[in-house]
Symmetry: C2
């Protein structure tokens, strides 16, 4: 925009204008630099693992480039050592799961496609010097078409997309270059071994230096989403029923609590990506081998269903037609109690889930919210608002009805969390409390194996589903 | 599971068991094969462009591998010709936008990083044979750390993620291999020219053979989402108010209409990806250069906001506590009319938007739904349900209140669609109708430039925002 000429600028000479532009340049440059520095600092502070990851990539690359500097190592691989460097750049990802998935895909695909490429080359040489290119080109075409189409299968895409790509790549490289270079087998072998070295270097650096486990991220993300809903319910009661009294003071505090749930609405795709990567990860820390990652998606979906209802609740906070405060006051106590108990249930669940403790302590709050819900229902039945305008009653009544539905949602989340806790053999938090509440099938089963620390059969069955 | 031994199997000899297993094998193999064939057929039928894309990849690879077969071409590039093959495999994506983005990223990054790598090599040779590896390793480390961290910036990630990766790759390749190979400049040049050839081959095949424009997909996806909501509203009135009368017959037809909106809820990330790719695409067909793709995201967000409310409406279809049919009957006419008019408005908008026609014909339906809404409000004010139980009234009342809110949502969508139609200079569909309804600022402006077919300044201004 600075290069456009305004009427004033046109009156001054081009040299003056140029000088002005040049004078402003250092300032602009400074501003821009400061902004970049600020953003960089924020990115690093938000998640310091990003800085660590960048250093890890530098470290891995420097390590692998040693192949070039040390003569004994270089003599072993020759120019192909470059493939090791290339592999590190491409394979080393932020999380262990992604790196393992890519590394495994790359190694397996190179191995299989390399072998197939050598086979295709041998077969093609039988056709003579003239027939060879035609035969090879046909093979390349067929393999490329089949593998590219396979990448559209959703299951293949989720786990083996990169492998299929590398398969096409390696098959082409090996079979096509066989036309000019007779040492195809040597080439395929070199390519595979350098990729093996590169992948292993990436994996070692990724796992040994401050590993980022994506499974842990998924676990935390699911827990945090529950907490966000919990925060909403904690703030909602006060915000809705005291909206006219002290609007400005309380809303400042509650605003962030009330808006936190919005990110839950759109968290589906990121959770699915994380679950796909997490399945590549070996057992680590509290997460055993074959940890039921798929069940996290179920909890995530139920949390999102609850978030959709929260979105509806949130609309009533900013509704044009509001129920008069005196009418709202009549259901205030029960509604606030339901909201608070829902908040406590979610936060309790989130807190024990985060620590990977198997407990049904949240059920106390769910039961308590159900009690309040019954009171609320009775209150609604007593027609205590007979003289009021129905149009004005609707918002408050809808809020009440939504709160009743949300209890069911939270109960479903609680059941899913318990299922996961059982399948993943979380350590038991309240074995003494369990026998007191034998009101569900799951609890009945939970009682039976509350003594066994690792109910492995359960894990196997549920994962097999 | 087949290898597990059941008690019966244990009684028979291992040979018998082996025979049984072998006998079952062909059947199992047939079943599996049939399933794969069925799935493949479905994938191809759902989107025949997938088959075309697979054939395109095969074609492009076969074309590029010609470099190896023809001596004059091979002499020009030598073994580096492999990089062209590699580039085609990696760059050729399903859509033109993705291919252009990747190709551009790869070419630019290779060019810049290749130059920088040569520079780094020259600088390092000044340090002597012993100092060179240390200096190069330092450079590689610094570049890798900086570029990897830059990939975390959201804006960089959206557009230049692949470029940053290739930057690290090329810089490493060129600077490191300079230690063993003195012809660094030649190598960098070869690498760049082969990548240029590979990228161009991919682009030519991608654009010239049945191109898939991701911008068109985004356009269609946004339109389809509107239609899905329209379908819901079309079916909702009948389903909710006649639920008890002819539940089984009508629900079969309406079921798919009523469930279609669910995919809208989670469409955010795919729309964002499409918009990112679409920005790489040149003008094509009705989509001009600098088509305002960002505004599609705005419409998408508003449609999703509406879908959240639809989710709330849908809950009332399967609510446990239902308002008795006779009470529902009192607001049936108005609610059905609002729902139908909303459906018509959405479908009208979707239909003209799909054809890229600029018209405000949907406003007739919005106005008509507003009229019905006013009637509904009056009806709700008359307290015509005084004797009924409030708890039973709430569901129907909430449905009515949600329908009122949805009108506002649809109005917002309509405004966003008009904004886009103006910015993208859709052709005018009802210039004669416009002057009759000068009730908004946008319409006032629309009148002024209704004669100009291409109001380019608008495009520029809105894109610059």
């Amino acid at each position: 925009m600075e290069t456009l000429t305004s009427p004033q600028q046109q009156s001054s000479g081009p040299i003056t204008r140029g000088c002005q532009w040049f004078k402003a340049l250092p300032n602009k440059f400074c501003d821009k630099t400061m902004e970049i520095v600020r953003k960089t600092k924020k990115l690093g502070q938000d998640d310091p693992r990003r800085i660590v990851h960048s250093l890890k990539v530098g470290l891995a690359l420097t390590l692998v480039s040693l192949f070039y500097y040390f003569k004994p190592l270089y003599d072993g691989f020759g120019d192909s050592a470059m493939w090791a460097v290339l592999t590190v750049v491409v394979v080393l990802e932020f999380s262990v799961g992604a790196t393992l998935g890519k590394g495994f895909n790359r190694m397996l695909a190179t191995f299989v496609a390399g072998g197939l490429g050598v086979g295709a080359h041998c077969l093609a040489t039988l056709a003579g010097r003239k027939g060879e290119p035609i035969l090879i080109a046909t093979f390349v075409f067929i393999i490329a078409v089949i593998m590219t189409f396979m990448r559209f299968f959703p299951k293949m895409k989720a786990r083996y997309d990169y492998g299929l790509l590398i398969f096409i790549l390696t098959f082409c490289l090996v079979s096509v270059s066989g036309y000019r270079d007779d040492q195809v087998l040597k080439m395929a072998h070199e390519r595979f071994s350098t990729i093996l070295v590169g992948s292993c270097a990436s994996l070692i650096v990724c796992i040994c230096v401050c590993p980022v486990w994506i499974g842990e991220d998924l676990h935390n993300s699911v827990v945090t989403n529950m907490e966000k809903l919990g925060n909403f319910f904690q703030a909602f009661g006060d915000e809705y029923f005291e909206v006219s009294e002290e609007h400005d003071q309380s809303s400042e505090n509650n605003k962030s609590y009330l808006q936190g749930y919005r990110s839950v609405l759109t968290s589906k795709s990121s959770e699915e990506t994380m679950a796909n990567f997490a399945r590549w990860e070996p057992g680590h820390g509290p997460f055993g081998y074959r940890h039921p990652w798929k069940m996290y998606l179920k909890i995530g979906n139920l949390t999102r269903d609850c978030a959709y209802k929260v979105e509806a609740l949130n609309n009533y906070l900013n509704c044009k037609i509001q129920t008069p405060v005196e009418i709202r006051g009549k259901i205030q106590g029960q509604c606030k109690r339901v909201s608070l108990e829902c908040s406590r249930a979610l936060k309790e669940m989130a807190s024990t889930f985060r620590k990977m403790v198997r407990t049904r302590s949240a059920i106390v709050h769910i039961d308590s919210s159900k009690e309040a819900a019954e009171e609320l229902k009775t209150l609604l039945r007593t027609n205590l608002w007979e003289e009021a305008d129905l149009l004005e009653i609707i918002p408050a009544a809808s809020v009440a009805s939504l709160l009743l539905e949300i209890i069911e949602c939270i109960e479903k989340i609680s059941e899913a969390v318990n299922e996961l806790a059982k399948a993943a053999a979380f350590r038991n938090g309240n074995a003494t409390v369990l026998p007191e509440q034998p009101d569900s099938i799951h609890q009945g089963e939970a009682q039976n194996d509350s003594n066994t620390a690792m109910p492995v059969p359960h894990v196997a069955i549920i994962v097999a589903e």
